[in-house]
Structure formats: structure tokens, C-alpha cells
């Protein structure tokens, strides 16, 4: 991509030399503006996650930190990690297909990426549900009736643990959800809106009201409104640059998990 953008820069330079100045401005970073914009967003977002991870580490340093994650949780989190890593590979293949101009394979690889991302969200949701059922609750939230296991004790003795665990992983899960929807919009454009609407309505009615995701599913409604506004106000056929920029966001989500997984899960492993 750098080659292509540098070529663009040299073309612009030639045009200035030939007196057709003012039409384009030379790219400062040798990249098109959408890509630079996404990189700047990711740099700022990395500070958001950096602050959360630092806060987590700060709490962990001065607290007798519990190690409640058993074999099941670690296996589950490892499969989630493999899903995200595999989704990054399919995303790269999607970018290649887009650069070749192969629309069919671009869509296929983007859908494969969305599949892995959705698998991550579902596995994470199941993990959350299991932990909450076993008594892991945020400080101030009502205790789960009948839950007297290790996680209930952890919530009572070390409220920093559920607070940082849910805070970090919820922020990351929200990013993954937005990423899947972003890819859906790029891959399917307006066709994705009814699909998202159906998933939202189905999720709202099928997830029991005592499950946290009965309320969390409203994030899909907000994304549906935002995606609709974008798609109807500025309908366009997304090109290879758009796919690459979407890929940058997706890889960033993967990147953040590479720190959350060892810090939150592996450092709290119960043997």
C-alpha cells in the first residue's frame, strides 16, 4: 500500500511541476487520509485501553489478588484468543482480495472474519453468564441468590476483581461488537441493516431478562441507528481502501486482547 500511495504522491508532485497545482495536497505520511485518520483514532483508543490496563495493574499490585480462573475458563479464553487471531488472518486475506478487485472473495473473507468475531462474542458472553451465575458481581449490584461459590467470596473480599474484570472485558467486547458491525456494513452495505435488526430483535426477546445481555443487546440498536444514518446519508461502494481501514480497526481489537488475555486471565489462573 505504501508503494501505491507513494506513487500517488509522485504523480501529484509531477502535476505540480506541470503547473496543475492546488488540486491535491501531498500526503504527509505517504498514506491516504482515511488511513491516517484511523491510525490516529487507534492511537487514542490505545490510550483508553492503556489507562484501563494500568488501573487494573495498580489494583492488582496492592491487593491480595484472587486466582479464581480454573481449567474451563482458561480453555475458553484460549479458544477465544485463537478465534481473534484467526479472524485477523481472514481479515488480511480480505484486504488482499479487495486490492485484487475480487469482490466475491473480499465479501467471503470479511464474512469469515465476522464469523470468528461473533464466535468470540458468544464465547465471552457465555463465560460472563457463567461467572455471574457463580456469584461474580460488581460492587453495589445485588448478590446472586444461591451463589456461594468461590466467585461470590471473591466479589465480597476483593471488589476490585469483578470491577476491573468486567470493566476491561466489557470495553473490549463492545469494541469487538462494533468491529463485527463495521465489517458487516463494509461487506454487505444496506443489506446488513435488516440482518442487524433481526439479530437485535431476536436477542432482545430470546435472552432472558435476568441475563446482563438482555440489556447489553441495546448496543446493537445504537449501532443499527448509526449505521443506517451513515449508509443512507452517504451511500457508496466501499473500495479496497475502506476494507484496509476497517482491517486496521479489527487488528487493533485483536492486539488489545493480546494484553487482556495474559494480564486478566493467565495471571489469575488457579492450579
Amino acid at each position: 500500500m505504501a508503494d501505491a500511495t507513494l506513487q500517488h504522491g509522485s504523480v501529484q508532485h509531477d502535476s505540480v511541476q506541470h503547473g496543475v497545482s492546488g488540486e491535491f495536497e501531498a500526503p504527509l505520511f505517504g498514506a491516504y487520509s482515511k488511513k491516517v485518520g484511523m491510525w490516529l483514532f487507534l492511537a487514542s483508543d490505545s490510550l483508553t485501553f492503556g489507562a484501563l490496563l494500568v488501573a487494573f495493574s495498580y489494583n492488582r499490585i496492592y491487593t491480595a489478588w484472587p486466582t479464581p480462573f480454573g481449567k474451563d475458563s482458561i480453555i475458553n479464553a484460549t479458544i477465544m484468543t485463537a478465534c481473534l487471531l484467526s479472524s485477523s488472518l481472514t481479515m488480511v486475506l480480505g484486504v488482499f482480495a479487495a486490492q485484487r478487485g475480487d469482490r466475491s472473495w473480499t465479501r467471503t473473507w470479511l464474512l469469515a472474519t465476522m464469523f470468528f468475531g461473533t464466535a468470540f462474542i458468544v464465547l465471552h458472553g457465555m463465560e460472563w453468564t457463567k461467572l455471574i451465575r457463580e456469584g461474580l458481581t460488581l460492587p453495589g449490584f445485588p448478590k446472586i441468590a444461591g451463589a456461594e461459590g468461590e466467585f461470590a467470596k471473591v466479589s465480597a473480599s476483593t471488589p476490585q476483581f469483578p470491577a476491573t474484570f468486567f470493566g476491561l472485558t466489557a470495553m473490549h467486547m463492545l469494541h469487538v461488537t462494533i468491529g463485527v458491525i463495521y465489517l458487516g456494513v463494509v461487506a454487505l452495505r444496506k443489506w446488513f441493516l435488516p440482518i442487524l435488526g433481526v439479530i437485535y430483535v431476536a436477542g432482545y426477546f430470546l435472552i432472558p431478562s435476568n441475563n446482563i445481555f438482555h440489556y447489553g443487546i441495546h448496543a446493537l440498536l445504537i449501532c443499527l441507528i448509526v449505521a443506517s444514518i451513515i449508509l443512507f446519508l452517504k451511500p457508496k461502494d466501499y473500495d479496497a481502501h475502506d476494507v484496509e481501514v476497517a482491517g486496521l480497526y479489527w487488528h487493533f481489537v485483536d492486539l488489545v486482547w493480546m494484553f487482556i488475555f495474559p494480564l486478566v486471565y493467565l495471571m489469575s489462573t488457579r492450579v
Binding site: A31, W39, G50, Y58, Y62, T78, E244, H251, L266, T269
Partner: protein, 104 residues
């Protein structure tokens, strides 16, 4: 763009290697943590080192930063790293104080 796509197609295999390396590093992390090979502080250092290697692979190859201009590479890396260092100086001296003196 055509030249660009051809360049990437020629080297597509390297992305499969990177993906394999990331999976292997993840497996190493899990084995180290589950078998409690090191003491907690040393374990934290090792896991963070492996995470930094994994993130470098993701940023460099999957996010293509390796193939961007030197100006963009250095500006992004230095600015984000600088912000993290500032965060470190804000938080951890106080965490060390709490560790030595207790919560007061």
C-alpha cells in the same frame, strides 16, 4: 494499486507464518501460566514480553505498519510509547508507596 496488490500476493505466505507464530506464542503463554513455571513477578515479566512480541507481529504485519513510511512508523510508535511512559510515572510510584506503607 495493481503493483501494490501483486507485491502483497507474492508475500501472502508470510501472513500464515505470522498467524502460526501468534498461535504458538499463545500456547506457550497458556502452558507457562497453567503450570506456574515462574514466580508471579517473573511470570508477569515473561507474559508481558511475549505479549509485546505478539503485538509487534500484529502491528508490523497484519496492520502493515512495517510497510508504511518511516515518518508514519516512528511518529506513531514514539507518541504512543511516550504516552504509556507518562502513564507509568503517574500511577506506579504511588502503587509502590502503597505497597511499602499500606493503604492509609
Amino acid at each position: 494499486m495493481t503493483h501494490d496488490a501483486a507485491t502483497h500476493d507474492d508475500s501472502k505466505g508470510q501472513y500464515f507464518w505470522v498467524w502460526g507464530a501468534l498461535l504458538v506464542l499463545t500456547a506457550i503463554e497458556v502452558v507457562l501460566a497453567y503450570r506456574q513455571v515462574f514466580q508471579p513477578v517473573r511470570m508477569l515479566e515473561v507474559l508481558l514480553l511475549l505479549s509485546v512480541i505478539k503485538s509487534a507481529l500484529i502491528i508490523g504485519y497484519f496492520m502493515h505498519l512495517k510497510f508504511e513510511t518511516a515518518l508514519m512508523r516512528w511518529l506513531l510508535v514514539i507518541s504512543v510509547t511516550g504516552c504509556f511512559i507518562i502513564m507509568y510515572f503517574f500511577f506506579f510510584p504511588d502503587a509502590g508507596r502503597v505497597l511499602r506503607l499500606g493503604v492509609q
